[in-house]
């Protein structure tokens, strides 16, 4: 993801998403988020991997349809198994209706699954066994919890302790994938690689 991708998303999809009250990302400005994420994580001696998902339109050209910022080498959320993971910090999938009606993409892919697959594969290739974690923004309400549950992630019990460096109380909105879950999720998309 470059500044151009962020600018495009903010200009072309941002205003449409902003009017959808149920979307957790309705106030996100990727043009600000992208450099901000890099700076904050460099201050913590970590690196971000911002990614763009391009999907094919009906005319055969490619359109930006998903954006994410991953944090490499983040503490794994299951404190009983300390180690590293990739943390999906920000993740946004374009609204399927907008893609269909305004950008000529009749059959958008399951973008949530693809965005999570990116994180799993990068984690595997970084030697972190596919372990990932994320926090479902409260602005997404219960619907966002359902999305991550349907994607196959495991919800961290609200009573579970968190790694100290997470610096946020466990509000019951953390999800993760351990090695087995990650491998199973990745395997389901192997045919399309």
């Amino acid at each position: 993801m470059t500044a151009s991708d962020a600018l495009w998303w903010d200009a072309r999809l941002g205003p449409k998403h902003a009017s959808m009250a149920a979307r957790a990302d309705r106030f996100w400005s990727w043009s600000v988020l992208l450099p901000l994420c890099h700076l904050v994580q460099r201050a913590k001696r970590r690196y971000c991997r911002p990614l763009v998902i391009w999907a094919r339109t009906d005319e055969g050209r490619f359109l930006r349809s998903g954006m994410s910022v991953l944090i490499e080498g983040y503490p794994y959320l299951e404190v009983e198994h300390p180690g590293g993971s990739h943390f999906v910090w920000f993740m946004s999938a374009a609204d399927a209706g907008v893609l269909a009606t305004q950008f000529g993409m009749s059959h958008p892919p399951a973008l949530g699954r693809v965005l999570l697959d990116n994180a799993i594969v990068l984690s595997q290739n970084a030697g972190l066994a596919g372990r990932i974690g994320l926090h479902a923004a409260a602005a997404g309400g219960d619907a966002l919890l359902v999305v991550y549950d349907r994607c196959g992630l495991t919800r961290l019990p609200a009573t579970a302790a968190l790694p100290l460096s997470v610096r946020w109380p466990n509000d019951g909105r953390f999800f993760y994938a351990d090695e087995l879950v990650a491998e199973a999720l990745a395997a389901t998309l192997d045919a399309s690689r």
């Binding site: 470059t2 072309r12 700076l39 359109l63 460096s165 610096r167 946020w168």
Partner: protein, 110 residues
């Protein structure tokens, strides 16, 4: 705390209200403050539309909006492997728009 490249990077922001260049000190201070927060807290602030209260800046730049679509052979696939330091630095630099180069007055040729 920051590398030299990050300092240069942080000087490329505009203040939101004044629409004037942000001072390096102000950006460093805001980033330092944000870095004391957890990622979930920052996610919540951004999602509530409140990040400007802690980071009242936007990147400076004047890039046009790119076209909606691209052909397959125009796309560059991201590496699925860990990046080296040079690749990471390039990724960070590419997160800010290119600013117009300042024009310098030429010397008179009398």
């Amino acid at each position: 705390m920051y590398m030299l490249g990050s300092v240069s990077f942080m000087s490329k922001f505009m203040m939101l209200d004044a629409k004037a260049p942000a001072t390096l000190g102000a950006v460093v201070e805001a980033v330092t403050r944000l870095s004391t927060l957890g990622e979930a807290k920052i996610l919540e602030l951004v999602s509530a539309g409140k990040i400007a209260e802690l980071f009242p800046f936007k990147p400076a730049g004047d890039q046009p909006i790119p076209p909606d679509t691209m052909a397959e052979d125009e796309l560059v696939e991201a590496s699925a492997l860990p990046l080296n330091r040079k690749q990471r630095d390039a990724l960070i630099q590419s997160s800010l728009p290119v600013t117009s180069r300042k024009k310098h007055r030429l010397v008179s040729k009398g």
